[in-house]
Symmetry: C2
Subunit: 172 residues, 2 copies
Amino acid sequence: MIADQAKAMSSFLPTEQRLQITCRQHPAFPREPAVLVRLIKHIYKRVHDDANALLKPWGINHPEYNLLMMLYGTERYTLNPSQLAEAAGEKSANITRLTNELCDKGLIERTASDEDRRKIALTLSKAGIAMIESFLPDICTLLERQTAGLQPREMLQLEKLLKKFLGQLELA
Amino acid sequence: MIADQAKAMSSFLPTEQRLQITCRQHPAFPREPAVLVRLIKHIYKRVHDDANALLKPWGINHPEYNLLMMLYGTERYTLNPSQLAEAAGEKSANITRLTNELCDKGLIERTASDEDRRKIALTLSKAGIAMIESFLPDICTLLERQTAGLQPREMLQLEKLLKKFLGQLELA
DNA sequence: TATAGATATTACATTTATGTATTAAATGAT
DNA sequence: ATCATTTAATACATAAATGTAATATCTATA
């Protein structure tokens, strides 16, 4: 059990030890918050890389996937660029480039909004919906596998704590 | 209380609602893992941006900070490029560029290793140590503020769950 | 209706991150 | 000792992400 955990933590252990040493040299350094931030970073990188690898056969990457899924999760599969930016957590400058690429690939369509001519509507095309439905089974499998180490109860707890964390980050 | 949470969650709520809709359209979609992954992403981006903003006056960015701190947390302030890559969670191709910049700024030094001529030792310079000690108070303040919403007990719980999550990611 | 202010969107330049291929040196087997 | 294999490190080309500034349309007010 202890051995298992040591093995599972192999990539993070050295990082944690270095934070430990830092605390000795600089006692005011808050070990716990620093560990959390590092863990978040390591997890994010891993999740990002896994998704990119899975999606490669479809010719899209993780950020593009996120955009497609945000549209897929919206009534009539339609959002403005700015809504999409917020939903996907991308900066607006990135949205232009990413949606251009998705348009070029025929996965989404742009149409001018009638009500407000400042706005543009981004809508999933038939091909886009079809592609989503073709990779979703693999995505589901990946998500299940990535979280296989957590009990349902632990996942709920983790969700609650991460939301609290994010909430505080947005206050500051 | 409920209002507070809703307010604090303002940026994540739309994302969560979209995942909800996705589940209705595709019942096999595992909502909980997807929410966790999204939360990680949102938190990471925020933490990354905050650190970059804080470090700007010193002329370094978050990845460079991470490298400096990994050296600072090591005996004799010295690591090989490959150890540094693993500790900081950067791909090796990035290490060359980042350490070049840190060398140019006089914050670290390169010396050839005697034992193994394949290796290069990267060591914090006096200027590097001085810079770290000059920004550390601000970093400590930032870390404290970012986690101010979490009780010590909650942080420990979060750490435990994130480690479990990361451990599983590395198995897969 | 004219105009000031706000918001959305995009274009462009720059910085950051990654993938692939190459070089160099150590290790191990014959 | 020699050659094949492995590992470390880097160079170069490409892709991704960001910041800044410019443009266009809306809203509200005089």
